[in-house]
């Protein structure tokens, strides 16, 4: 693969992310990694479900009173939208339109940042009312599960931002196309995990 090879929208391959062996390896590798990350989340989900609402004798916090559905809903919307914008970015990548990729990836990052700020606010609020990390088994499990997802978001943000900065002046080529594609795939994964968190933690917490 020649990194300086110049393309036009006509010569640009239909699946640029799979046009090289390196790209193909990267994507297969990422899919496989996501499979194992899923198992990691499953373990922590199971732990959370087992420890929900349990704490020292006389604990006053229960999921039912703790969570604020409207906040969780806004966060969900932000993250879902950011997944959509990353799809737009990939659409532009297939059409060899770098500025489209950059713009939509940038919007994805902004939406992700918004999500993260709300999450930090939420955590801060809980700690403030006495529901800290060490308060009970329930609190440890909650912060670990949701925090682990938050950490994935941070990694995703750093990754995408890094890609935008690194490639800001050189446009698309067959070396960085798989990288953008991989980052967007990872971002979808984060989104899917959040859907489960929203359901299992927040919805089932408030309703169940």
């Amino acid at each position: 693969m020649d990194i300086n090879q110049k393309f036009t929208p006509q010569t640009w391959p239909k699946h640029p992310e799979q046009a090289t062996l390196e790209g193909k390896n990267k994507l297969v590798g990422l899919w496989i990694f996501l499979a194992s990350d899923t198992v990691l989340f499953a373990s922590v989900f199971a732990t959370y479900i087992a420890l929900k609402d349990s704490g020292p004798a006389g604990m006053e916090f229960a999921a039912r009173d703790l969570y604020e559905l409207p906040l969780a809903f806004i966060m969900t919307m932000l993250l879902l939208t950011s997944s959509l914008t990353s799809v737009y970015a990939m659409y532009h990548m297939k059409n060899y339109n770098y500025s489209g990729v950059r713009t939509w990836m940038g919007i994805t990052v902004l939406l992700g940042l918004g999500f993260l700020c709300l999450e930090i606010y939420e955590f801060y609020h809980y700690v403030h009312i006495g529901f800290g990390y060490t308060q009970s088994a329930f609190s440890s499990a909650f912060f670990t599960l949701v925090g682990m997802h938050g950490l994935h978001v941070v990694i995703g943000l750093v990754w995408i931002t890094g890609l935008i900065i690194r490639n800001s002046s050189r446009g698309l080529n067959l070396y960085n196309a798989p990288k953008f594609f991989a980052a967007s795939l990872y971002w979808h994964f984060i989104d899917v995990v959040w859907v489960f968190i929203f359901t299992v933690v927040y919805l089932m917490g408030v309703l169940g």
């Binding site: 990194i3 390896n25 297969v28 499953a42 704490g55 609190s139």
Partner: protein
């Protein structure tokens, strides 16, 4: 990049190995490191057996026994057996599928260094206040209250080396999926490649629960979380589940590649095609799948209830079916073959009955009511050593003899090999056979001593004599290895004369790019097919001689691993730790602890950013260079003069 090795200084060699991404060199590092830890853990076992040789012996104290016990089990499984298996995977699988390297050479090196640094970190515990002492299973009800930093070393050391193992697993899966030579369809893949694929998939799904569990224990012990502390609403059984969801597949992660290795050795020396190839593949996949369905057989006595116990008992017994298929296939491969009893074949012949014995006791333990009797007794120790030593260690020793010519261009001495085999094999059965009876007579496992006059004395004595014999066997093997350095180089392909798969089609010593042209695979046992058709050149090729694309070396994996170790020290000395607060362990001030954690992880992340910002496209070896390298190697093979690439 020239291939011709000028006389390199020692420093240059060290630098070469620190930065290498060549799967053949990484294999050698795995082999060396794994052997080192095998020796350490074996020594720990010997100390335990000497303590248990006589009743009420005072050779080592109860506390030290617990540390030796824990370190022996942990080291043997994670830091000896796994890396030695990885050594063979790295050395052989790319050759078997006709690839130039693995899919992610950089990650391959990272996986090794994480494993190694994690292992070193774990062993530092001996010098920094005491080793972990809650057994290799480290049940939370024990380990949460273990004073000192021992358990913390266990948690962090396994966390780091486990990350390395996971990375290597992903790497092998991708390699096998995308890098096979033309014609190498899935159903033509040699069984060692197949078992590597399945075992790596098990790593993929089994290590995350361990990572998760270790993380929970990490924050529980070091940062005040409450997952396992029942006074705070926690539940200690969660650890047991997470641990065994990992722990049971782990035994298959180790034994499947061992099966694969024997499936390579047996056809070569029976000089017959592997019997029942597709059923072997099917059995491998089935074992891998069922391996995830049975974890609670380690928890029959926890009290999960009769229904759960019954389901897990039946699932466990079901695994005996595909395993039995494999055993019959090996026997039928040998049946009617023209057998050559070489050292690797000797190990294979010793393996079959030993492993079957371990399997039979396994099915006995799967019977839940009987397990109430056997649980935590020496019967269990006998069982798992029969599968582990009889199944895995024999595979590793046998394959060392089998593949030494490819890995080092030298052969191990067959006379010493036979001697090692018999001493080790007899020692092994002496050590562990009698332990079945010790268990049935009621001797519990994980005890540092016992009272005399209960009928246990003689068997314990015999067991310890056996252990000493195994130690002698291993020492002879090490001498054999050292002698091989000075022995005649092999300098040809197909050392055993009856090789069947691609790795035998290539002349040793190997150039760094393996096959100079990618081979064309025309069927199962491709090299055998070529030999039958009288092809003298090894293989036919799928492409004309052309430029070869190879990856660049990098020091970053090593630095990244060091970063994780620095961070691990920060977490270990966290001032918020349970034991630090209880006054049984030393803690650092908060700033120091945090600075180490952030600094260490920062170093690792910085390396990742450098890695992603610096384009790394590898380099090309031109046709002229390839020709000069091949000429060099040919010259070396003919005259023994250096200049050969190694």
């Amino acid at each position: 990049m020239s291939s011709v090795t000028q006389k390199k200084g020692f420093g240059a060699h060290v630098w070469d190995y620190l930065t290498t991404v060549d799967h053949k060199k990484i294999a050698i590092m795995y082999l060396a490191a794994g052997t080192l830890f095998f020796a350490i853990a074996g020594f720990e076992a010997l100390l335990m057996r000497i303590q248990l040789m006589f009743p009420e012996s005072t050779f080592i104290s109860a506390g030290l026994f617990n540390e030796l016990l824990t370190m022996h089990g942990t080291t043997m499984l994670f830091l000896a057996a796994t890396p030695i298996i990885f050594a063979f995977m790295n050395a052989i699988v790319p050759l078997q599928i006709g690839a130039r390297d693995v899919a992610f050479p950089f990650l391959n090196s990272l996986g090794f260094w994480l494993f190694f640094i994690g292992a070193v970190f774990l062993h530092l515990s001996f010098f920094l206040g005491g080793a972990p002492d809650a057994g290799w299973t480290s049940y939370a009800s024990l380990s949460l209250y273990s004073p000192g930093h021992g358990i913390d070393f266990y948690i962090l050391g396994l966390q780091i080396s486990g990350a390395g193992t996971l990375i290597s697993g992903i790497n092998f899966i991708v390699t096998i999926i995308t890098m096979r030579a033309p014609g190498m369809t899935f159903m033509r893949m040699p069984l060692f490649t197949w078992t590597t694929l399945v075992s790596s998939s098990l790593i993929l799904f089994a290590f995350p629960p361990l990572t998760g569990g270790l993380f929970l224990m990490l924050v529980d012990r070091m940062f005040g979380a409450n997952f396992f502390d029942h006074t705070m609403g926690g539940n200690t059984i969660i650890w047991e589940h997470l641990f065994w969801i990992f722990g049971h597949p782990e035994v298959y992660i180790l034994v499947l590649p061992a099966f694969g290795l024997f499936s390579e050795i047996i056809p070569v020396f029976a000089r017959k095609r592997l019997f029942g190839y597709s059923s072997m593949v099917f059995a491998t996949i089935l074992i891998g799948f069922l391996g995830f369905m049975v974890w609670a057989h380690h928890m029959f006595t926890v009290g999960l209830g009769a229904t759960a116990n019954a389901i897990f008992a039946v699932a466990t017994m079901a695994i005996a079916v595909p395993t039995g298929m494999k055993v019959f296939n090996w026997i039928l491969t040998i049946w009617g073959g023209s057998i050559k009893v070489t050292v690797p074949m000797l190990y294979a012949l010793g393996f079959i009955p030993s492993f079957v014995a371990g399997g039979v006791t396994g099915v006995m333990q799967a019977t839940a009511p009987l397990d109430y009797q056997l649980h935590d007794s020496y019967f269990i120790v006998a069982h798992f050593h029969y599968v582990i030593v009889g199944g895995i260690v024999t595979a590793l020793f046998g394959s060392a003899h089998f593949y030494w010519p490819i890995m080092f261009n030298r052969a191990l001495n067959p006379k010493l090999g036979v001697l090692t085999f018999w001493i080790f094999f007899i020692g092994f059965h002496l050590t562990f056979f009698v332990q079945h009876f010790l268990g049935l007579m009621g001797m519990p496992r994980r005890v540092f001593t016992y009272m005399g006059g209960q009928g246990w004395d003689l068997f314990n004595f015999i067991s310890s004599i056996g252990a000493i014999m195994m130690g002698i066997g291993v020492i002879i093997l090490v001498i054999d290895v050292l002698l091989s350095i000075k022995s005649e180089p092999v300098n040809r392909r197909d050392y055993w004369g009856d090789g069947r798969s691609l790795e035998w089609a290539i002349e040793t010593p190997l150039p760094f790019y393996n096959f100079k042209q990618t081979p064309l695979v025309r069927g199962f046992d491709p090299y055998w097919i070529e030999k039958e058709e009288g092809n003298k050149e090894g293989m036919v090729y799928a492409e004309p001689l052309g430029e070869i694309h190879m990856p660049n070396n990098s020091i970053l994996p090593f630095i990244m691993s060091i970063g994780t170790m620095i961070a691990a020290f920060g977490a270990l000395y966290s001032p918020w730790g349970d034991q630090v607060q209880a006054g049984t362990a030393t803690g650092a001030p908060a700033v120091v602890s945090l600075a180490l954690i952030i600094g260490g992880l920062g170093l690792t992340i910085a390396c990742m950013i450098i890695r992603s910002f610096k384009d790394d496209l590898g380099f090309h070896v031109t046709v002229a260079e390839i020709e000069s390298i091949e000429a060099d190697l040919a010259n070396y093979r003919a005259t023994g003069k250096k200049g050969g690439n190694k």
